[in-house]
């Protein structure tokens, strides 16, 4: 069982990213994933998170993830918004983050994740899809960390967005997958 | 088919337990005479439910459903939607409700139907209070009328149902009265044939609730029109037309003095009431005729 938690801001497509990720795992990797989204009353711009549980068997657990194995941060500013992305992590938890700024990475290093994968997903999104919505690219980043294959992510993205939007978002994912770095 | 145990001339049984001289009874017979048997009726609990029946027996030869007090329009909309889904555009869906079920508790569902332009014919027989439950005031009770919940006379004016309906820009809306059955039937025919919702607001004297001699039902309806207390007009293709406009209105007392519910009116109130009715009638007609 693999437990994931995605953090981001409302409007960045955190919930959509979780949907695509769970589809990639469930439909193209022959495993099972469920999303347990934590909907608040907040609107665009507010910090949001969503939980995903992955397993080889159908997932029984239906509650939020409290001890994540993988944390995905879509927006590096959320640590300044009263969000503790290290909540519940353990010795083997890894972080995948949308940033390439060394200063910020230094701050995230203090959380003692086992590994940190990082890439500027927003920049990639701007270059590839023309707007700074990083959900496609960060799904590629997740693939870069080895949790899911890039092929599955690309297929799931194309299912979700259809036609042209699907192609460019899949391209963004591939780019992030190739550019990702590890600490 | 119904098990027909009683020979009736029309679609309504002759022996129905409405009060002697009931205006509503005259209306339902005439409305159904025009609409014919390809009609489904929705009736809320209230006086009109006497036609729904009791136990195994009903007083109507057409199919019908008695819904809740506030959802007559919505039930009619559901029936319409199902008929449409089955490709039936011909059957008339008739909502037949009193003033309480229409202007008070049912106004939301009615507004929904009128806004969506669901093709139903909505008849509001207006006896100006909750008669079936014991003559409690409604928002259609006229000012000064005494009811069991406005014992000293109602202090506010009535709600204007037809203008509310017209504000939804529906294809056909009209007021009518039982004193002119031919006019009423003509209006039912028009309402039936428009493409979209139509509303008939029919003045309906109630001998029991208004406290008058049952023999006077039709006379009182006539006097309401002649005094300007009830204005006959219709709204068709975006234009209003006043159906009755006397050179001079009859004094309001000719109408109110026949009824017990206006007995409490004091002399100065009578004067003010007369003044109000006259102004209201003139302004209303002016507004209708100038399309304002």
């Amino acid at each position: 069982m693999n437990k994931l938690k995605f953090y981001g801001l409302g409007g960045q497509g955190v919930v959509t990213a979780a949907k695509i990720f769970s589809s990639a795992i469930s439909l193209y990797e022959n495993k099972y994933a469920i999303t347990v989204p934590a909907y608040g009353h907040e609107r665009r711009g507010a910090p949001v998170n969503t939980s995903i549980i992955v397993d080889d068997e159908p997932v029984l657990l239906n509650s939020f993830v409290y001890t994540p194995d993988v944390v995905l941060v879509m927006d590096d500013t959320i640590i300044d918004k009263n969000v503790d992305v290290s909540e519940g992590i353990h010795a083997d938890s890894i972080l995948v983050i949308n940033t390439e700024e060394q200063g910020i990475l230094e701050r995230y290093k203090k959380f003692n994740f086992k590994e940190i994968y990082y890439v500027d997903g927003t920049q990639i999104a701007v270059e590839t899809i023309g707007k700074g919505i990083p959900n496609g690219s960060m799904l590629g980043a997740l693939a870069g960390s080895g949790i899911v294959t890039i092929e599955a992510v690309e297929k799931a993205i194309k299912d979700m967005f259809k036609e042209k939007a699907g192609d460019i978002n899949a391209k963004a994912a591939r780019k992030a997958y190739e550019q990702i770095k590890k600490i | 088919m119904y098990d027909i145990k009683h020979k009736s001339k029309g679609l309504v049984s002759h022996g129905v337990s409405t009060c002697a001289g009931c205006g509503l009874e005259l209306i339902i017979r005439n409305v159904l005479e025009v609409l014919g048997e390809d009609t489904i009726i929705v009736i809320p609990p209230g006086c009109s439910a006497l036609f729904s029946g009791f136990g195994k027996e009903t007083a109507l030869k057409i199919p019908g459903f008695q819904g809740n007090l506030e959802n007559t329009a919505a039930c009619a909309a559901g029936i319409r939607a199902a008929l449409n889904a089955k490709g039936n555009k011909d059957t008339t869906v008739l909502a037949f409700a009193g003033d309480g079920a229409t202007v008070d508790i049912g106004i939301q569902a009615l507004s929904g139907v009128l806004e969506r332009k669901d093709k139903i014919l909505y008849v509001c027989y207006d006896n100006e209070a909750y008669m079936n439950t014991g003559i409690q005031g409604s928002s259609s009770t006229p000012i000064h009328a005494s009811t069991t919940t406005t014992p000293a006379g109602k202090v506010t004016n009535r709600k204007d149902l037809l203008q509310i309906a017209i504000a939804h820009d529906i294809p056909y809306a009209a007021t009518a009265s039982i004193h002119n059955v031919n006019d009423l039937k003509k209006k039912v025919e028009k309402a039936k044939n428009v493409d979209g919702p139509s509303l008939l607001h029919i003045h309906t004297p109630c001998p029991t609730g208004w406290r008058f001699n049952p023999a006077k039902s039709v006379e009182i309806a006539r006097k309401a029109v002649q005094t300007g207390c009830w204005i006959l007009y219709e709204y068709e293709e975006g234009k209003a037309k006043v159906n009755y406009k006397p050179k001079e209105l009859m004094p309001v007392e000719e109408y109110t003095n026949l009824q017990g519910r206006f007995k409490g009116l004091k002399e100065d109130e009578k004067k003010k009431f007369q003044e109000y009715i006259k102004n209201h009638f003139e302004n209303y007609v002016k507004r209708l005729e100038n399309d304002i």
Partner: protein, 102 residues
């Protein structure tokens, strides 16, 4: 009920129907409510049909060919008196039921 269901619905099967449904078209003997009954003075009657038109119970027929042309179904006439009140010739009288004088 079973018979009713048969025609439009079931090609093969009959169903028992449940719930509050009325399937008998009937009437109550509302004529028994009457305190007064309309009596027509045929010498005055012009057979205009007003009484027929305004009768709330729809129990009056004006048969123009007949001498006693106004036929009232007293099984259902509640004796409201609208016909008498509306008659343009005032040729309908409401008289006390049980044959009494007015």
């Amino acid at each position: 009920m079973q018979r009713q269901q048969e025609k439009p619905m079931s090609k093969s099967k009959k169903y028992r129907v449940f719930g509050p449904v009325a399937t008998v078209f009937d009437s109550s003997n509302t004529g028994s409510w009457r305190l007064e009954r309309p009596e027509i003075d045929y010498s005055q009657c012009i057979k205009c049909g007003t009484c027929e038109r305004v009768c709330p119970a729809n129990v009056i027929d004006v048969l123009k060919e007949e001498k006693e042309c106004v036929v009232i179904d007293f099984d259902y006439c509640k004796g409201c008196g609208v016909c008498a009140n509306e008659c343009p010739k005032k040729c309908i009288d409401m008289v006390l039921e049980k044959g009494g004088e007015k």
